[in-house]
Symmetry: C2
Subunit: 788 residues, 2 copies
Amino acid sequence: MEEERSTRAAGEPAAEPGPAPELKRKNEDGVQDPEDPESTGTGDGGNGISSLEQPLLKRSATLTASHLALVGAKVSHIESLDYEIIENDLFKHDWRSRSNVEVLQYIFLKWAMAFLVGLLTGVIASLINLAIENITGLKMLRMVTLVRERRYWAGFLYFAGVNLGLTFVAAALCVVFAPTAAGPGIPEIKAYLNGVDTPNMFGAPQLIVKIVGSIGAVSSGMDLGKEGPLVHIGACLANLLSQGGEGRWRLRWRWLRFFNNDRDRRDLITCGASSGVCAAFRAPVGGVLFALEEVATWWRSALLWRTFFSTATVVVVLRGFIEVCRNGRCGMFGEGGLILFDVSGVTVRYHAGDLLPVTLVGVLGGLFGALYNHVLHQVLRLYNLINARGRLAKLALALAVSVLTSAGLYLLPFAVPCTPCSAAGAAAASCPTVGKSGNFKQFNCPDGFYNDLASLLHATNTDATRNIFSTGTAGEFRLDSLLIFFAIYCVLGLLTFGIAVPSGLFLPIILMGSAYGRIAALVLARFVRIDHGLYAVLGAAALMSGSMRMTVSLCVIFLELTNNLLLLPITMFVLLIAKTVGDAFNPSIYEIILDLKGLPFLEPKPETWMKDIAVGELAAAKPRAVTLQVVERVSTVVEVLRSTPHNGFPVLDRPRPGVSELHGLVLRSHLMAVLRKRWFLPERRRTEEWEAREKFSVDELQLSPEELDMYIDLHPFTNTTPYTVVETMSVAKAVVLFRTCALRHMLIIPKFQGLEISPIVGILTRQDLRAHNILGAFPLLANKRKVH
Amino acid sequence: MEEERSTRAAGEPAAEPGPAPELKRKNEDGVQDPEDPESTGTGDGGNGISSLEQPLLKRSATLTASHLALVGAKVSHIESLDYEIIENDLFKHDWRSRSNVEVLQYIFLKWAMAFLVGLLTGVIASLINLAIENITGLKMLRMVTLVRERRYWAGFLYFAGVNLGLTFVAAALCVVFAPTAAGPGIPEIKAYLNGVDTPNMFGAPQLIVKIVGSIGAVSSGMDLGKEGPLVHIGACLANLLSQGGEGRWRLRWRWLRFFNNDRDRRDLITCGASSGVCAAFRAPVGGVLFALEEVATWWRSALLWRTFFSTATVVVVLRGFIEVCRNGRCGMFGEGGLILFDVSGVTVRYHAGDLLPVTLVGVLGGLFGALYNHVLHQVLRLYNLINARGRLAKLALALAVSVLTSAGLYLLPFAVPCTPCSAAGAAAASCPTVGKSGNFKQFNCPDGFYNDLASLLHATNTDATRNIFSTGTAGEFRLDSLLIFFAIYCVLGLLTFGIAVPSGLFLPIILMGSAYGRIAALVLARFVRIDHGLYAVLGAAALMSGSMRMTVSLCVIFLELTNNLLLLPITMFVLLIAKTVGDAFNPSIYEIILDLKGLPFLEPKPETWMKDIAVGELAAAKPRAVTLQVVERVSTVVEVLRSTPHNGFPVLDRPRPGVSELHGLVLRSHLMAVLRKRWFLPERRRTEEWEAREKFSVDELQLSPEELDMYIDLHPFTNTTPYTVVETMSVAKAVVLFRTCALRHMLIIPKFQGLEISPIVGILTRQDLRAHNILGAFPLLANKRKVH
C-alpha cells in the first residue's frame, strides 16, 4: 500500500518540500489542474458571492497547496484520510449494516486488538529495557575497571568505541531500511490522527528498526529517550495488527476485513500511542490522557475505555516483568528501567512560603522551554540541510554526535573534585558504589569518596534521572557538577534530537529539567523547605510543560510516577505557569516539528480572519472541480483518473433538460475497483469496502477500445449524502465542520441554482482550509490579521 | 430568566408529560403550527425527494415533538441551547472579534471562574461533611446511651423522631422552594451539556435547598448519598458565577457579559460537575474523567485542563480542612467524611487462581446492576404517579420512607447475636466501641462483645462504607448480618431514590455492592485468597458498573480512593465484565432516568435505520417552516413571534423577480432585542450578545400602529452562515453533524432550486432528530429496525 503511494508521487512533477512559502505563485504546482480557474470556472461562484454584504477581497494568487511533506528525512507525497461514513449502494462502509454475527465478530476483534496492542507493547517495552540495562551495564563495568586501573585512555577509547558501534547500528538501520523511524514519531502520529496519512510510517520495517535502533541509540549513552519511540512502536503494532501484517506477508483472515478502514485503524492507533506512553512511564491513566490531550483529534467515550484497557494490559505485563526480574534473573536489569521515581514513602509538606520559589521555578521553566523550542527549531532546520545531502551525511552526523557525547560523558567527571561519602548524609550507606548502578559512583576517586558528576553521567538516562530525583539527598550533588551536567545536557539535547536514530524528547527534557530544579534548589537554598529531589521533579515538570505544553497528561504522568497525591497541586501550579509563559513565545515543540515537516495539521480553532472570507471565494481561487456525469463513458473516467490526483469527484445528474443536479461524490478507490472489476453494465453486487481499498495504479488497467466506449452507471457507487456547505458559509465555520466531522472532501453548493447553472461551486479539501494556504492566495487577509 | 420561560410555557396549551407515546397523532400538540403541513407545505419538498433512488417511505403521521419534560417532579417547557457561533453584523457572538484587552479579561475571568468553582465546591463539600458528621454523631450518641440504659422504646422514638424531623426539613425545602433540587441532578446536567436547557435547574434556590436538604437527608440516616447532590451543587455554583448571581440580585459587572452565552456557561458547568465528583470522592482525576465520560457531550483539550484546575483546587481545599480537623477541632468530624477508604498500606497480591471468583463477582454484579436498574425504573414510574398528586403526597412519601428506614436501622441489629471481640482478630484493639464512630459497635451487647450489624447500620453511610471496606477484618462480619444488611439496603435503595429530597445514587450502590462483595467472599471463602475488604471494593465496583455503566471514571475513582495502583488491573477486569453483562439487559440508570423524564438527549451514535430516511422526508412531515423576508413589516415580525414558539426563523431574499434565495437564519432573541430597541430604520450599532439575551415577553412590547406599519431590515441581524444540509442527506449523517457541531437549528435546502421554488425545504431541531419522534411519524422504519 505504501509502495503504491510513493510510486504515484514519484510520477508527478517534483515540487519543493514543505508548504509553499511564496505568496504570488500562479499554477506553478504541477499537482494542480493546469487550466486557469478564473476563465474556466463554473461561472456561478461570483453570482452567489456578490450577494454578500462585504466587498470582495482582492485575491492576488491562486489557492495552491503542496501535497508534499517531510516524512522521516524524505520529501513524500501525503494523502488525507477519510473518516466520513460513505453511504452508497454497493460498498458497505458502515459496520451497522452488518449482520449480527459480523457485529459480534467485529466487537470481539476490537477488544482482542486492544488487548494485543497492550500486551505486545508491554512485552517489547520490557525487552527493550532489559537490553538497554544489560548492554549499558556491561559497558560501564568494563570502563570503570579500566579507570580503576588508571588506564584512562584505554577507558576512553573503549567507552567511545562501544558507543560509536552502537550508534552506528542504530543510525545505519535507520538510514538504510526505514528513514521514517528516526526521531520520536509522535508528530506523525498526531498528524495521522488528525487525518494526514504519511507513507511508510507504521509498517513492519519501521517497527523493527525502531526497536533495535532504540536499543542501540539509548545504550550508546546519547542524550535521547526510549519514551517517544515506544509511542511510535505502539502505533506501528496497532497498524500492523489492524492490517493483519505487512505487504506480502499479510494475513488474509476474513475477520480482519472489518479493520481495513481509516476509522477503525485510527482508533487502534490511538490505543497504541497510549500504550506506548504507559509503557514508557508505567502510567496507565497518564497514557490515556496523553493520547486524549496531545495526540488525538477526535475522541469518543467508547475509545476512552478501550484505550484504558490497552494501558492496563501494559501495566500488568510490566508488573509481571518486574516480578520476574526482582530475583535478579534478568542480569543487570533489576527493577531499574521501569521504576523511574518513587516518593510514595516520603511525607511532603509545603507551606505558603514555598509558593514564591516554586513560582520562580515555573516561570524560568517556561522561559527555558520556549528558548529550547526556538533553538531546537534552528538546529533542526540546519540538520535538514545536512540530512538532505544523502545517507552518508546522515550517518556521519549521527556518529559525530556520538563521539561528542562520549567525550563529554567520559571526560567531564574528571573536572570535578571527589566528594567524601560523609557529606552525603544518611543516604550514603552504600557509598561509594562501583559498578552498574547506584547513587554514589566512585569512578576515579579514592575509597570513601565519590564523584557526583559520574553518578549522573555514567548511567543509563533512566538511572541518571532516578539518581537526580532521589529524595533525602540535598548534599549529594555539588552546584558546579550540576551546572556542568545541565550545560552538557542542554548542548547534547539540542544536537542529538535531529540525527537519524530513533530518539525521544521526554527524557532529555526531564534530565535537563531535573538538573535545573536541583540547581534552583541549591541557589534558593535559603528559601527552600521542600526536599531537593522534589525540586528536581518540579524543574523537570516545568521544562516539559514549557517545551511540550501538555499539562493534564504530564500532571497525571508525574502523579503516577511519584505515586503521591499530595504533590498534585504544586505540580499543577508549576505546569500551568510554565505553559502560560511558554505560550507567550512560541508554539509547542510538536507543533514546531509538524510545521517544519509541512504536515497539513488542522488546528482545533479557526483563525480570527477566517470569518471574513467565504468558502465560495476559496473555491473560486481553485481550479475548476473535475466532475463526472452520473452515467459516464469509461474512457472519460479513465482519463480523469489518469490526469488528476484527486481522491473524490462530484457526480452530476441531469434529470430534465437544462437542469443539473448534484448527485453526490464518488471516490477514486471505488472508481478504480469498478474499472478493475469491469462493472460497466452495473451488476448489483455488494462489495466490501476493503476490496476497494486494495490499491493499484490506473496505468495497470488493460481496457480494450470497445470497453473504453462503454458506459458506467455511477448511481450505485456514489455517496449521495456528502457533506455540503453553501458558498456563503464563512471559512471559520467550514473549518469547524470539516474538523469535527472528520471530512476529507467538502462540497460547496451555490446559493442560487437555477437553470443552466452548475450545481457545484467547488470542492474543498484539508489543504484548502489551512490558514497558510489561504493566506497565500489572499494576502490581504494577513493584513487584517495584524490589525486585529 | 427562568421565570420568563415558565410563564411562556404556562401560556401554551397543556400537553401530556414526557415524550408522546402515540404514533398516530396529527397536529394535536398545540405547540405546533396548526396548519396542515401537507396541503400548505412549500411545495418543493416532494420535488427533490422524488429524485431519490429509493421509494418514499409511507408516512402515517406528522412528525410531532413534545417540548415538555419532567424537571424535578414538574412538567415544564424545555428549551434547546445554542452552541453555534452566530455570525451576523450586529451581535457580537464570538470572543475572537473582541479587542486584545477584552480577550485578556475574558481569559483571566475564565480561569478565575474555574478557580472559584473549585474553591466554593470544596468549601461547601467540607461544610456539608462537617454538618452531617456532627448531627449524626450527636444523634447516635444519645440513641446509644438510651439503649445502654435498656430504654429501647425511648431509643427508637428518639432515633425515629430525629430522623423524621431531618427528613421533614429536607423534603419540605425541596417541595416548597425547589422541586428540581430533588434527586441527584446528574441526568439534568447531562442533558444540559447535551444542549437541553431545563428551567429552574441551576439557580440559587436549587443551590441552597440542595445544600441544606442534602445535610438533612443524609443525617436522617436514609439510604442516599451526598455525592450526586455535590455534582449538582458544583454545577449550580458554576452557573451562578457565570451569570453573576441570580435574578434581581445579579451582579452587573461588565466583565461578566462575556459569560452570558451558552458556550462558556456549558464549559463552566462541566468544571462544576467535575469539582462535585472530586469533592465527593477526593478524586481529582476521577472527577475530570467522570465529566468526560459520563456527563459531557462536547469536549476540547482546553476544557480538560480547566476542569483539572478546578478539581485540583477542590483537593487543596479538602486537604486544608482535613489538616484543620485533624486535631479534633471540628467536633465529631475528624477525618471521617473525607477519607472513604485507604488501602495504600496494604500489599495486594493476587494470582491466576483468583481470576475465577473475581469473574463471578463481576458477572453477578452486572446482573444485580441491571436488575436494580429495572426495578428502580418501575419504582420511579410509581413514584411519579404519587408525586404528581401534589406537595402533600410528596411530603408524605418522604416521611414514610424515613420512618421505614429508621425502623429498619434501629430494629434489625437486635435480630443478630453479639459477637465476641476475640473473634475479630488483630484489628479488634478498640473493641467494642461505644459512640459515634468505630468498627465494633457495642450497642446492646455486653462488654467484650460487639454487634456487627450495628457497626454497619448505626453510622453515617460514609462510615458504614469505611467499616465494610476495612481490610484485615475477614472475621468481623457474620454472614447473616451481611445478608440482612444487603437485603435492607436493596429495599431502602429502591424506595429512597425517588422521594423529594436531594439524593445521590453512588453511595447506596456502593453500600449494596460492598455488602455483596463481602458476602461473595464469605461464600467463596475456600477459593478466596484476597482480603475480604478488597472483595467489598470489587463488589461495589461491579454493582456500580452494572448499574451506571461508567468504566474509566469509576476505575480511576476507585484507584484514587484506594491509592493503590496494584488494584488497577483487577478493578478494571471486574468493571469491564459487569458493564458488558449489564449492557446486555438495559441501558444505564442515568439513561433510564433521562428517558423517564422525557429529556431530548441526543445519543452519540445514530440508529441503524436512520440511514434509510432523508432529512427532506422529515421536513415534509413537519408543518411548513415559518420564514421571514429580509426586509419585513414590523407587524409581521410581531405576529410571527406571538404565534409561534420557534427560536429561529429562516430569512429569505428576493434579489431578482422570481428568484428566492436563502439569506440566513435570525434568532428570536435578536428579533426581540430589535423590536425592543425599535431599530426599525437600521442604525449601525453593535450590540453585545448578552443584551439580546435579556429575555422579555413579546406581549410586553407596546408598539404604536405607525410603528407596526414600519419595516425592519433584517440584513444586519441575520446569521448568514447557518449550517445547511441538502434534503437528500440521510438522517444518520445529519444527526452526526447536528451533534458534533452542537447545533440548535439545521436548515434543509432543496436539491434543485430553480425559479419560483422556495429555497428552503424546512428546519430541523433537536426534537425532530430524536429516534423516538421519527419512529412516531414513520412507523415503518421501526419494522426495518427489527428485521435488522
